[in-house]
């Protein structure tokens, strides 16, 4: 089967995630969009792994999932903590790192 369809789907997912990260202001949505981008990457990895008959891509996809899970735990933890402290959940207002 032609792998280009999978790759096109992966690219579309990635682009959707990237645009979401760029235009949305809610940290929760940005986190979701990041997940989307990671899974787009996973799709591409598995596609290549299947077509080329190499298991390493599968392994990488699993590792990426683990990383994504960790990241979501930390990210959601921060969001919940910020919400409890009544810190506005808007990335444009959270700019304490301005130089």
């Amino acid at each position: 089967m032609d792998m280009s369809w999978y790759l096109v789907l992966s690219a579309l997912l990635f682009a959707t995630g990237a645009v979401g990260v760029l235009i949305r202001r809610s940290p929760l949505v940005i986190l979701l969009c990041l997940e989307l981008m990671l899974n787009a990457g996973n799709l591409a990895l598995i596609t290549f792994s299947r077509t080329l008959g190499d298991e390493e891509g599968q392994v990488f996809a699993l590792i990426v999932m683990v990383i994504a899970a960790c990241e979501v735990v930390i990210g959601l933890g921060i969001i919940v903590a910020a919400y409890r402290r009544r810190i506005p959940l808007n990335v444009d207002e959270l700019r304490a790192l301005r130089g």
Partner: protein
């Protein structure tokens, strides 16, 4: 054991003594440190004798032995070994240094007995002797410079030994700074030698120098002059001499050790050792001879008027070293080293008697206050007169033979070298006068108050005070002890002075023209390739010189007798008639003031200018310029740091997209 093993042992004993005392002094009972120190130097003297007999057992042309302990540095054509050179000259120097130093250590055990710094004193003394022995045994210039610098440090430590006295610490610093000027000369000379000959090894230098350089070539003269700067600073020759009289701030045995018998002879040794350079660099050798002559005359005139007992002896040291420098400058090597040896005996003796007299005077050193000690200090007085006789070159004493050997050689070389002979005889006349100025003033004449009390068995111990400034001092660490010691009460001082007295009287007989020639024959092994060494004046000429010397010496003593004993008012009248000259001489020819005006003040002014102008405008300009650059760059970069998370993300995407595009395009 072969001679070089003895050579290493010569160095090992004083170093071990110094370290044992320095690190174990808390465990040493009573005066043990003094005895350990004395034993260390005594053993060093004994192994030097061993080396001497080993050397004498070899044929004359094989008497230059080197031995390397390990490679100190070896890279890119540079090869510095940790090696020593055992040859007649270095063995001779070791004999003089360790022999005289043993006696001085013995003397010091009694002399500094009540000083709280007793252990420190002996540790320094041993370290000093070690440095001096390292200097004379070094087989390459690098090791020689190490010994040279150690000697400088040791002299600083010992001159400033009573470190709570500002006068002593200032004198120590002065000695150290002037010595460092000399060190710079020596280091530069070593660099030039390495650049021209590619080696630091002494024997290799002496072998190659005559092949590499033509006579009086610019660079070899430069090397010679740089070596001379080192030699002059260490040997207190004009204009680097001003530290020596000030160095009399140290305890008297220190003056005997470093400022009479050993350290100041390092310059003479250096010039003698580098004779192959100086026989090519004739101009440098002439400079040495001229400076020696000038120094001996200047120092002798100053010694005629200063009133501090130790300073008179210090100036006489300068003057006698002037003879030696002149001797090695004109090529009278064996005569100069002969004088070095006899001078070591009688000068150490004179300092020891001065120490005993100062002990009796409760630390006062002005000879105007002294007088008539012959009954109260009979032993000291007898040895003082022996020392003065040898210094004045009285016929039959050691100084008589050695001084005239140098002057006879100057006459022998003839031509312009007559100047050195005539100047030397003028100096000899003044030497006899100032020697007996000390002798008659202290020993003869009506007894002073201290001498009268001492005859009744009362030894004064006044409130401790600095003899230079009159400041009151406590007797805690860093000041002299509260008890003063005279030779009459202490047998170690008596033994040390007796041995040196015998040397001062009789050591001249090892080399009497036409009769014995021990030293000259022995040193031949070190001066094999010398053009001048084997030229000797005839015995008749030497005896003629000796007769002249005897006449001059007796005349000088007679003059001293007239002015300082029989008719003391005449000396005062003479002083009143020539007030300008007296002030000029009493102020030591204004050398300190001249150096202050020509070097110290311009340097200070330059330093202040640097502080006020250079620092403010140039250094601070550079600093604030750099700061401005950093600030400007920083504000340019700061605008990118907006704090907007999404703009960071955008930059990230754009960056990665750009990279991806680049690799796509570059890959296709």
């Amino acid at each position: 054991m072969d001679a070089t093993t003895y050579g290493w042992l010569i160095l090992a004993f004083p170093l071990a003594g110094s370290m044992i005392i320095a690190f174990g002094w808390k465990l040493l009972p009573g005066r043990a440190a003094g005895w350990i120190g004395t034993a260390a130097i005594g053993l060093s003297f004994l192994v030097t004798l061993g080396a001497l007999f080993q050397i004498l057992g070899l044929p004359a042309e094989e008497r230059q032995l080197t031995d390397s302990l390990y490679d100190y540095a070896s890279a890119g054509g540079l090869d510095i070994q940790m090696n020593i050179l055992v040859d007649p000259l270095s063995v001779f120097m070791c004999l003089v240094v360790s022999g005289i130093s043993t006696m001085i250590h013995l003397y010091s055990i009694s002399y500094v007995t009540s000083d709280r710094g007793f252990n420190r004193f002996f540790s320094y003394l041993n370290f000093f002797v070690f440095s001096m022995l390292l200097l004379v045994l070094a087989g390459n210039i690098v090791l020689l410079i190490v010994g040279w610098a150690f000697v400088g440090f040791a002299s600083y430590a010992l001159i400033s030994f009573w470190y709570r006295r500002t006068t002593a610490t200032e004198a120590g610093m002065k000695a150290f700074v002037i010595n460092v000027v000399g060190d710079i000369g020596l280091v530069l000379a070593a660099l030039f030698i390495f650049r021209e000959l590619g080696t630091f090894d002494l024997l290799a230098i002496f072998e190659q120098a005559p092949e590499q350089f033509s006579t009086n070539e610019g660079v070899v003269v430069l090397i010679g002059i740089l070596l001379l700067v080192g030699a002059f600073a260490k040997s207190a020759q004009v204009p680097f001499h001003t530290w020596l009289p000030d160095a009399m701030e140290g305890p008297t045995p220190v003056s005997a050790l470093i400022h009479a018998a050993t350290m100041v002879t390092a310059g003479v040794y250096l010039i003698g050792r580098f004779y192959p350079i100086f026989e090519i660099a004739l101009t440098a050798a002439d400079i040495a001879a001229i400076v020696g002559l000038v120094t001996l005359l200047i120092a002798a005139t100053i010694a005629l008027v200063v009133t501090d007992n130790k300073r008179i002896i210090a100036y006489s040291t300068m003057s006698q070293i002037g003879y030696m420098i002149m001797g090695v400058g004109i090529g009278a090597y064996s005569a100069a080293f002969f004088h070095l040896m006899t001078h070591a005996f009688f000068k150490a003796l004179l300092f020891m008697t001065a120490g005993s007299v100062i002990g009796a005077m409760a630390n006062r050193q002005n000879i105007d206050l002294m007088g008539g000690f012959r009954r109260s200090l009979p032993f000291t007085s007898a040895l003082l007169i022996i020392g003065c006789l040898a210094l004045a070159a009285f016929p039959g004493t050691s100084g008589f033979f050695s001084k005239d050997a140098i002057l006879a050689f100057a006459e022998y070389r003839g031509g312009a070298y007559w100047v050195f002979a005539i100047g030397g005889y003028i100096g000899a006349l003044m030497t006899a006068i100032y020697a007996f100025r000390i002798g008659f003033r202290i020993v003869a004449g009506p007894p002073c108050e201290v001498a009268r009390d001492l005859e009744q068995g009362v030894h004064h111990h006044v409130e401790p005070q600095n003899p230079a400034t009159g400041e009151a001092e406590d007797t805690d660490v860093g000041f002299p002890g509260e008890k003063h010691n005279i030779a009459e009460d202490n047998w170690p001082m008596k033994i040390a002075m007796s041995v040196l007295g015998i040397g001062a009287l009789f050591s001249g007989y090892i080399q009497v023209p036409g009769v014995t020639d021990v030293l000259h024959t022995f040193l031949e092994g070190s001066f094999e390739d010398s053009k001048l060494y084997f030229e000797q004046p005839t015995d008749a000429a030497e005896w003629r010189g000796l007769a002249t010397g005897a006449l001059i010496s007796l005349t000088g003593i007679a003059i001293a007798h007239h002015f300082f004993l029989r008719n003391r008012a005449a000396a005062a009248r003479l002083q009143a008639r020539l007030p300008g000259l007296h002030t000029f001489l009493a102020n030591k020819w204004y050398f300190d003031e001249a150096i202050d005006l020509l070097i110290v003040r311009p340097t200070l002014a330059f330093g202040r200018w640097c502080d006020s102008t250079f620092e403010r405008y140039v250094v601070e300009g550079l600093v604030s310029g750099a700061q401005g650059v950093a600030k400007g760059g920083n504000s340019a970069v700061r605008t990118a740091q907006s704090g907007y998370l999404r703009s960071y993300a955008l930059l990230l995407f754009v960056g990665f997209a750009g990279l991806g595009l680049y690799f796509l395009i570059a890959g296709s």
